[in-house]
Structures are given as structure tokens and as C-alpha cells.
Symmetry: C2
Subunit: 347 residues, 2 copies
């Protein structure tokens, strides 16, 4: 049995989803992987829960307490940024909200973790979009793992698919529907024959879209994901890393009902497609045959890898959700643990 | 650089596809994985090419020679079954034609390989359908790997998806379109509004269906694949292995044009679906919503894994083809090699 000591940063939907999954999967992780997860600290923006035992926090008490400030392990005003280097831990799980402007606060947390010899698992796109090259280099220099399966496609295992399953193939291009909100809106415009504004309002009412929906519908979220996919999967070691401003981005705001209907008449469908092909990075509305595997409906995400041997492989699943993202985070933790065991035995 | 010595059994479309891929990927395998593949022997039913050097056969000469019996390394009447135990090799690649009656000749080859301490990679369903439990046990007892990614879904990495990418999830059920021929026929019945017989004839003319199409259209091929999927992915260690005669199989022969059109009017589509759900194994025609990720067209295959954490993950790709299957075989070889390196270092 191996003990894995975790510092969790972020106590929102995804952070709590992760903690719930850790409870639910406790015996599964022990039986199948010989893993014993200890949550040694959980940080919020205004303080943190810090364990004073070797066995970590009682997660259930964190999730069930009414006023978190009353929790016996709550420490006010303490910062993840300051505590990460001081604390002993194996993995920092970074799940603060995405900010693709400056990547903070996640960027600072990840830097601190890697520099102080901790592996990192994150579902936060911000730091990767802002500082991909820096973080990859930092991880390499410190011989740490930086895994981020949950950052793109939620529960869909895009990175491990490329890394593990298509080993014999060279991946040539990537195309995907990477944002569930825009896909929901476009799907409703087709199925209900409603204009963009009504479909957007519906998405907002259902909680799929934010009050300011720009991040999703203007393609910023999808472009961030495309950057991470490209730098991770398509980039060859000798090539430079792509930057956000190289991506040509077009919104779905101007898609009319007429355009949607015209597509329909021709057995086509308008989708918001992110693509990395022949060195060109684009996010924008695109006509797809209705029968294309990529043309999924509702909030689903889809990604097609075109490869030299395996041809086109498409993978589809839920691209968001606390539980789905938590499943990716937990898979990353298991993967890192297995690699650490291997590394230990090789030395 | 590691040398991997291979015995190939089978010199048909898939076997030759594999050899072509080995040539094409020679420098890729060296650079990325430090692997040097040597093909030490290639067996056909009436003899074999056997290398008399340490560096293996000159593959190009095998593929380009007009009359294989004229090849300097050709040995008439020698049998893979007899030579496998005698020869030194790391991996036996078994690519003889599928026979789900008695699994032969593949079954004998795989037994010989495992018993004589060789790892096995195969894309041949027959031996697995006939003797799944025996072969898995034999591999375990001899501490050998038996990988068969190419046996189900061609290029689609179904087994490694379940094994590597969804580590944190428990897979609850499997549904899939596992036979490209029936899917082509059903797709043409929808798109061209033609009856079953015409679509079948077209599939035969294009080389997708055999003269006796029963193996495909009566669901036997799909059922064999479902058995392998179920025993590999759904079966828990304490559970028994399922057998072929437990699968309820229904053909697509009786699907009428009227049924196809009626489905179409209701935004549904008839597909030949294999499913393993709540202990029930079935292959048969099923109505799917047109927007279902599973409802792919033409010769594509699709598989949906329903899991406790990641939700429904669907993967789509070409389910057949020499090159696509070879990509799966080569991925298996790389995977085994990486595990062998790890095992070596752990001892």
C-alpha cells in the first residue's frame, strides 16, 4: 500500500467534485491500485484547511460543514502560494478557476509546487495557456510530472489517448468541438429552430452559459484548449510552442437561423470547430456533414485525431462537470503514482 | 537500443500490412522508443521464411518477390506450430485468418508461443473466442503478455482506452457497432433508399462483404468481438468468463426498406448494435437516435463505454483494413516492450 499525500487548491465545483470522488473511490483505489490518498490540505482564496495528523483531513467533515470557517482545521488568511513550498506532499492538485489573462492564481501555485519537488495535476487551463513552455520546462528541470487531462474535454481522455493508445502512429492534425456551451446553443438552433439569442438565453437559464457568455461563444475557451492540445500532442521536440495570439478565432454570435436551416437542407450542420492542421490554428463556425463523427449534439465534446497509421480516431464524451473532471484528475493521480513506482525501482 | 525479435505467423492482407508498417516506421521506432524490430521468421500455411542471421529477414525482399517459393530463405512445408517452440524470439505476432469454429490454426500457435516463453500479439479473434479463459490463464502462468488490440475495432484502441485512460472509472456497460460490413449495408439502405439485397451486393462488389456474407450480416463476427470485450473489460476477477453461446444474436437480413424509412421519419436510425449490459449479451438491430454518438455511418465502427465517473465515452474509427490493424499490432508491441523493460528493472 502506497500513501499519496495531496494538497488540493480550489474548493469550488470541481474541487468539491474531486473530494467527493476521493471518498467514493477509497476502497477501489486501495484494492485495484494499492493507493491510499491523504488530503493534507485544501486551500480556498481566503484561507485553508490544514491537517495536523499524518492521515490527512477528514474529507467528509469539509464537505458537510455548514460554515467552513467553523471547521477545526480551518486557518484564516493562509495562502496556498506560501504554504505549498513549506508543506510535505507528493501531488498538488490545482483546481482554481481558469483565468487565461494572466493564469493566476493557478500559475503561481503550479510554479511553487514544481519548484518544491511536487508533482502537479490540474484541470485549470489558464496557467497552461499563459505559460505552457515555462511550466513544461520547469517540470522537466525538477523531474516532476505535470498532468492536465481534465483541462481539455472534461472526462474525455484526450492526452492519454494520444500518448498511450496511438503509440505507433504519428498524429498529423486535430479537430474538435471543445466547448459544450456553444455546442448546446448550436444544437438547439437546429433541433428547435430558434435564433441564436433565444438558444443562448436557454443555455444561461440552464447554467451552461455564464451571464457574460463571451468566454464560451466567442471561442476563447476553445482556443485555449486548442493551444494546449497542439503544444502537447502535435508539437515535435524540435519545434517551438504555439502562442494564443496565433490562433484565428471567430465567434458564433453571427450565425443566423437561415444559415442553420440552409445547412440542414443540405444534410450539413454548423458547428464551432477548433482545428490544428498544417500549422494553422483556427476556432470558428464550420459546416460538417451530419454523419461526421465530429458532429455531436447538445453539450457533448468531440475530438478527431488524424494519424498516419490509425487513420481518423474520434473520441466523444461530456466536456465539463465536476464529477467528470474529477474522474480525469483522479486518473492523472493514478498515472503519476504508477510512474513514480517505476522510477523508484529503476534507480 | 533494444532488439525485439519477432516471429510473424500469417502472410495475408494484415500480415503484409504489418510488414509494410515495420519498414515505414523503422526510424520512428528507433528514435522515439529505442526499438529495433527484427523479423526472424514469417510463416504461411505451406512453409516459412526463416532468417539465418541475427538481424532478421530482409522484409522488403519478402514483399517484393514475385514467387515467394523462390526466396532464398523460404523453407517448404515447415510449420509455425513446430518451429515456434524451437526458435528464439521475444514476440510471436499471430495474424492468420479468424476461425471461430475451433480457433485454429491461431489457437495452436498462441499456445505454443506462450508455453515456450514468448509474448503474443494477435489480431485474430478465433483463438480468443474459442479459448479465452485458457489463453489468459496460460499467459499468466507463463508470465507472458497476450495483447490483441487489433482483434476488435481495427485501429480503434478499445482495450488500452479501458485499461489506461479510464483508470479511475469502473466500466459498467459496453455498446458498439463492431462490424463495418453490416454498418455499410445499413448506411446505404438509409442514404440511397435501397433494399437490403442491393446494398449487400454493393458491399460484395466493393470487397467489404464475402461471397458468403453470413459471418458479418448474421452477427457472428460482432458477437465474437463482444465476447472478447466483455471478458477483457467488464469481467471482474471473481466472475466467470462468458461463452459464445450465451450471446443472443439476431441478423440484419430481415430489415426492410419500410423499417429503415419509418425510423428515418422519426429521426432514428437502425444499426446493428452489440451490447453487454447488466449481464445480458446481445447483437441485433436496434433503433438509435440519429444524434447518438454511436450511430456512425459507412464502414466505421464505434464503441461506447458507460462508466461510473467519466460517464459515456465513445470512440470511433476504421474497424478494419490491413494498415489500421497493423497500427494496433505495432502499438501492442511497443506496449509489451515498455512493460518488459519495467519488469526487468524491477527484478
Amino acid at each position: 500500500m502506497a500513501d499519496v499525500r495531496i494538497i488540493l487548491v480550489g474548493f469550488g465545483t470541481v474541487g468539491k467534485g474531486f473530494l467527493n470522488v476521493v471518498i467514493e473511490k477509497k476502497s477501489f483505489l486501495k484494492e485495484i491500485y494499492g493507493l491510499n490518498l491523504h488530503i493534507n490540505a485544501v486551500f480556498k482564496s481566503d484561507g485553508g484547511f490544514i491537517s495536523n495528523t499524518n492521515t490527512g483531513l477528514d474529507i467528509q467533515s469539509l464537505l458537510s460543514i455548514k460554515d467552513y470557517k467553523e471547521h477545526p482545521q480551518w486557518v484564516k488568511d493562509v495562502k496556498a502560494y506560501d504554504k505549498i513550498p513549506e508543506m510535505e506532499a507528493d501531488i498538488v492538485v490545482e483546481l482554481t478557476p481558469t483565468n487565461i489573462g494572466d493564469g493566476e492564481p493557478g500559475l503561481g501555485h503550479i510554479r511553487q509546487a514544481l519548484k518544491s519537488g511536487k508533482d502537479v495535476v490540474t484541470a485549470n487551463k489558464g496557467p497552461l495557456v499563459v505559460a505552457f513552455q515555462e511550466l513544461i520546462t520547469l517540470a522537466e528541470e525538477n523531474k516532476r510530472f505535470l498532468h492536465y487531462e481534465g483541462a481539455v474535454g472534461g472526462a474525455i481522455p484526450v492526452f492519454s489517448l494520444a500518448r498511450e493508445n496511438l503509440k505507433s502512429s504519428k498524429i498529423i492534425s486535430i479537430e474538435g468541438i471543445l466547448n459544450g456551451t456553444t455546442n448546446f446553443i448550436l444544437s438547439r438552433m437546429v433541433s428547435e429552430k430558434i435564433p441564436f439569442e433565444i438558444a443562448l438565453k436557454e443555455a444561461q437559464e440552464l447554467g451552461y452559459a455564464e451571464r457574460d457568455p463571451s468566454y464560451d461563444i466567442d471561442g476563447i475557451d476553445a482556443a485555449g484548449k486548442l493551444l494546449i492540445l497542439t503544444n502537447t500532442i502535435l508539437r515535435r521536440p524540435e519545434e517551438r510552442f504555439v502562442k494564443f495570439d496565433e490562433i484565428k478565432i471567430e465567434s458564433i454570435r453571427n450565425i443566423t437561423q437561415e444559415a442553420v436551416e440552409l445547412a440542414e437542407e443540405n444534410n450539413l450542420v454548423i458547428k464551432h470547430v477548433a482545428s490544428a492542421k498544417e500549422g494553422k490554428l483556427e476556432v470558428g463556425p464550420k459546416l460538417l456533414p451530419k454523419t461526421s463523427p465530429l458532429a455531436v449534439s447538445s453539450t457533448l465534446n468531440s475530438i478527431t485525431f488524424k494519424s498516419d497509421l490509425a487513420g481518423e480516431i474520434t473520441i466523444i464524451g461530456e466536456g465539463a462537470g465536476g464529477r467528470e473532471t474529477a474522474s480525469a484528475v483522479l486518473t492523472d493521480i493514478i498515472t503519476i503514482f504508477k510512474k513514480r513506482i517505476k522510477t523508484k525501482n529503476n534507480n
